[in-house]
């Protein structure tokens, strides 16, 4: 029997994760609904005045997106851990960092991407001008990506831990704060009509850092949790 190649193994795992996620549809939609609802709360609580909303829109969109993505993070490895699939993945002979990367990517596709798709709607409702919409989308693609790759480490560490979800946010939020700072800054700059290039480049650097180093930390975390 020929051993399965890296790309083939990755593609198989990716399509399996997507299939499973779409069979449990509510898991995909819940973060988006949460995102829409949280952002609705702010105009109600602050004031419906457009000029005022525009000032805080960047922060609201980013914080709400981070929290919504955080909701889904807990389930990244949960069901695989419970039914023993994760054990099989660890034993499969494929490099675990690669599988961790693919799983984080699949998780991003079902939890991060819907938020990115919904974000222009949310931004428009907070009176973000059309010119800034591109920055909202780009910064959130990077931001939710960072959260998925960093969050995978936290999700791996908190597997099988009591009250894991609270702990998970305690572990992951401090690490994502830098991304929040630059992401919200980028959106804010482009709302005011300035160039958002600087913070976006920094955000991209963080994304690459989490993409390249995160999977190794995740595989270490998973190995510890599976022992």
């Amino acid at each position: 029997m020929q051993p399965t190649g890296l790309l083939r193994a990755g593609a198989l795992l990716y399509s399996r994760d997507l299939k499973l996620a779409f069979r449990r549809w509510e898991q995909v939609t819940q973060p988006v609904v949460f995102f829409l609802m949280v952002t609705t709360l702010f105009p109600l609580a602050l004031s419906p005045d457009t000029a005022q909303l525009r000032q805080v829109a960047a922060g609201i969109v980013w914080v709400a997106a981070l929290l919504s993505a955080l909701l889904a993070l807990e389930f990244m490895f949960r069901s695989d851990y419970e039914d023993g699939t994760l054990e099989q993945l660890v034993l499969s002979g494929q490099p675990l960092w690669w599988l961790a990367l693919v799983k984080a990517l699949a998780h991003w596709t079902v939890s991060g991407l819907p938020l990115v798709v919904a974000s222009p709607l949310v931004a428009a409702s907070l009176a973000v001008p059309t010119e800034a919409q591109a920055t909202v989308v780009v910064s959130l693609i990077l931001g939710t990506g960072i959260l998925s790759f960093l969050g995978a480490v936290g999700a791996g560490l908190t597997l099988g831990v009591r009250r894991g979800s609270v702990l998970l946010s305690l572990l992951v939020l401090p690490l994502t704060m830098p991304a929040l700072i630059f992401g919200a800054r980028a959106v804010d700059l482009s709302i005011m009509g300035d160039s958002s290039r600087g913070p976006l480049l920094l955000l991209t650097a963080m994304f690459i850092l989490s993409l390249t180093l995160g999977p190794f930390a995740t595989s270490a975390a998973l190995k510890v949790s599976m022992e």
Binding site: L150, V153, L157, T158
Partner: protein
């Protein structure tokens, strides 16, 4: 050298050595901190810009340095524990975390007290302050993760992975005053010529005092940790009965 290393890592040997060395850390620490405080609060000349208010420097800066120093110690110990599966290294990381968290808290609290008269505000959201706050959260996350995993070995190794991931924050804190134009002033301790020697020596005394204090508290906590882990071992019963 390796036999010495392995000997040190064995719990009975370490327990005895730590017991013997604690006074060598704690007394010099007390003397250095008292001397440093006297030097800083009384002997050092007044700052020409900040007046007497700058004297909080002598607590603030050493605590801030310690907060980062302890995190790096913790991360190195965690790395050693992960790679060579050394239990004592994990115990060092675990015992360091609360001490580091308190030093971080002290740095933030004294900084805030210093900020009120100098900047006119308790807190600003600039890079130095925010990254130090994130460091506090990292310490708290480390402590929380350890305490919520029951199996001690798994707790050790999980927390070690987290400690290593958090190392990314250290260079950010250290260079935050260089990279961003912030309200927080630049580093004076490591900048030759920024401070006269009369102003600097009490700060150095405080810093070394704090380091020795850390060593003393670390050893006390490690001894407690050894007792907790080896509570069923025969050597401990003999040791305690003596």
């Amino acid at each position: 050298m390796w036999t010495w290393f392995h000997k040190l890592a064995s719990p009975p040997h370490f327990y005895r050595i730590a017991g013997l060395t604690i006074p060598w850390f704690s007394w010099p620490a007390l003397i250095l901190i008292l001397v440093g405080l006297y030097g800083g609060l009384v002997l050092a000349p007044m700052d020409y810009q900040q007046g007497e208010g700058f004297r909080i420097f002598y607590v603030h800066v050493p605590s801030a340095i310690m907060s980062m120093f302890i995190y790096s110690t913790m991360a190195i110990a965690a790395g050693i524990g992960l790679i060579w599966r050394m239990k004592l290294a994990h115990a060092v990381a675990a015992a360091s975390a609360p001490i580091g968290a308190w030093f971080t808290f002290c740095a933030l609290a004294t900084g805030s007290l210093w900020g009120k008269p100098m900047w006119g505000t308790w807190w600003v959201w600039d890079a130095r302050l925010t990254s130090e706050l994130i460091l506090l959260f990292l310490y708290l996350g480390f402590i929380a993760l350890r305490s919520s995993i029951e199996d001690p070995q798994r707790a050790d190794r999980s927390a070690a992975v987290l400690a290593l991931v958090g190392v990314i924050n250290l260079p950010v804190i250290h260079y935050s005053v260089v990279w961003w134009n912030s309200l927080h002033q630049g580093s004076t301790m490591f900048n030759p010529g920024a401070m006269s020697i009369q102003m600097k020596w009490p700060a150095l005394a405080m810093l070394f005092g704090f380091m020795l204090y850390y060593g003393a508290v670390l050893f006390v906590r490690l001894r407690a940790e050894v007792i907790r882990r080896e509570r069923n071992a025969a050597w401990l019963r003999e040791e305690l009965a003596r």
